[in-house]
Amino acid sequence: MITTETKTALKQLTRETSPYWEAFEQFEKTAKEPEWVRAARKAGISHFVELGLPTLQDEDWRFTNVAPIAKLPFKPVLESTGEGVTAKSLSHFTFAELAGSRLVFVDGHFTPELSSTVNLPEGVKVKSLAEAIAKDPAQVEPHLFHHARSDTSAFTALNTAFFKDGAFIYVPAGQTVSEPIQLLYVSTAKEDGTTAHVRNLIVAESSSQATIVENYVNLSDAAYLTNSVTELVAGDNAVVEHLKLQDESQEAFHITTLAAKFGRASNVLTHSIALGAKLSRTNILTHLAGEGLECILNGLYLTRGEQIADHYMVVDHAEAHCDSHEYFNGILADKSKGVFHGRILVRPDAQKTDAKQTNKNLLLSDSATANTKPQLEIYADDVKCTHGATIGQLNEEAIFYLRSRCIGLETARRMLIHSFAGEIIERVRCQPVREELDTLVWGRIEQNEQKITGNK
């Protein structure tokens, strides 16, 4: 028997998810795709309707309220909007001068006119995922949808149901792509609620090497949503560096998931740099699936105003002799908020695991907040797991030291803030990326500091 309470709840749920459901029915009619993709999309929308958007009652979303996203109208971008975007309008973005291949996506749609691939070794593919689904199923089907789960994440489910495109990067065994591959995502949203569902698949086969940069930027000041999912597979002995720079509009919402699987003796370095968005949530879900591998999850969030930057990490140690290190630093000004949730799971077979986690937060104002939540679940007995978190202000003693060395108060502050960011930036291995990122962050710190000084 259905109680009144259940009825109300159902009605509520239907009202919340019906726009998504209706949009999906429309979208499905137009999509011409292989059956395995259609099935995944259907499963995606079903899971989404079951799960609904997360609330503060959801343990994994305790500190980040996505109600503002739920309130937005749902406007997935189903048609290409790239006509108005020119190479010139992209020239001022970070990494614009970076050598190497670059794919550009406008509101989640591949824009070939703005994209180019260069110096790709034999067998390496850097292309649109939509195209790869049609033409390279043998390389796509074994991986796509296998790592990012729709049944436990509403946003991944929604992405799976609605994604139009994204990047497909395939590096065959033993090949090295020496220049970074840049994926540039531009939002041109004119209306609130405009949603780009980006889906990427990166497959680095055994003993291959590649550096991938995901760069989220905007030509918009609307309250749009980027909901992207990247699946990353690093084969045995593969060496992969992955960096996501999020520099969305201050009005925008940014939800991304990097779901990754690492093979034996691989070496993977991921960076998440969060500068923009009113609310951003970055999920990094890693499955350490081979022995003797090493992975580093590195991250920096720099927020001001009322921004929220949330990082949610799962490091799943399934095999023995693996090292994982997480380093996340947050620099929080004004009334902004940083959230760090790091779960380390050490399964019974994962003996000799060495898992480290550090989250440091620098509060630049009395009203900034940081929430940090380590979560260690250890089912093996011969392991080393450490975690540490700090929340503090600029070191007064260090400021005095710098001042006593002729350096003015404002410069001293900036130097210390920059050095705090520098701890993270210096881990970026790809030199041109690191240098440009450093310049960008330094400039942003300077801007924020000028605002602070200006307010006084």
Binding site: N395, E397, A398, F400, Y401, L402, R403, S404, R405, C406, I407, G408, L409, T411, A412, M415, L416, H418, S419, F420, A421, G422, E423, E426
Partner: protein, 256 residues
């Protein structure tokens, strides 16, 4: 007589209502090395901190004139730009700030302050390498983050290296000998002596006489309970070493 570099007149200061300095008088002229000795808690480090501009203290009386300027009116960075240098007792580790960048910024602040053109990276490196030679400073001091991961001895040496780069008119060495073994002490003292000139001055603050075997002072002042109770030549340090602080003022309460 030449114009003094520093004149302290009847300086009193304290924290939270507790008086630490109770009327200090001291005059330092170019070319002079002064040592201030005293037991723990006598106010030595407070004096050094106040001269460098640490604002944890309330100045309750007196004045400090530095090269015809009211020193206490200046911000600490301006004092440094005008040539006051404090070698810290506990140099601060600043991870993430590259030493070369730090030194270049500091040095160029002085240049700007004196309306001189700033040195670019190449010019600065050339200049700083010369200074390094004078002090036999290892090359990696430039590459490491400021004091980060330095041993106690390396930190003190780095202070003297910074002093060599910034070339102060008045260098204040706050217990530079503390925590140093005899070899490190000798290296640091040699560095300080090489930087001594007829137009600058050094104020050496120390608890022990042993540093003064290497840095020979022109004047030794004994600071006790916030006052300079005796002033003499370098032989006063030896007398203190032999007889202890209690011999200076019989009956005085000397904190351990």
């Amino acid at each position: 007589m030449t114009q003094p570099i520093l004149t302290i007149k009847n300086l009193s200061a304290g924290v939270e209502g507790r008086e630490i300095l109770k009327g200090i008088n001291l005059t330092i002229r170019p070319g002079e090395v002064h040592a201030i000795m005293g037991p723990n808690g006598s106010g030595k480090s407070t004096l050094a901190s106040i001269l460098a501009g640490r604002d944890d203290y309330n100045i309750t009386g007196g004045e400090v004139v530095y090269c015809d300027q009211d020193l206490l009116e200046l911000e600490s960075e301006d004092r440094a730009r005008e040539g006051v240098f404090l070698a810290f007792q506990y140099p601060v580790e600043i991870p993430g700030v590259n030493s070369t960048y730090f030194l270049k910024t500091a040095y160029n602040e002085i240049r700007k302050h004196h309306d001189q053109p700033e040195l670019d990276a190449v010019e600065f490196l050339k200049f700083v390498r010369e200074r390094m030679k004078i002090l036999d400073v290892p090359e990696d001091f430039l590459k490491r983050p400021v004091n980060h991961g330095f041993s106690g001895g390396e930190k003190k040496r780095n202070e003297i290296f910074q002093m060599a780069v910034l070339d102060p008119k008045l260098a204040i060495l706050d217990e530079t000998d503390s925590g140093l073994d005899i070899d490190a002490l000798q290296i640091v003292a040699t560095g300080v002596n090489r930087l001594k000139r007829q137009d600058n001055a050094q104020l050496v603050i120390t608890h022990y006489q042993r540093l003064l075997n290497f840095i020979v002072p022109d004047y030794v002042h004994v600071l006790m309970d916030g006052r300079i109770v005796r002033t003499g030549g370098k032989e006063l340090a030896l007398e203190l070493e032999e007889n202890g602080y209690e011999s200076i003022i019989p009956g005085a309460v000397v904190p351990a």
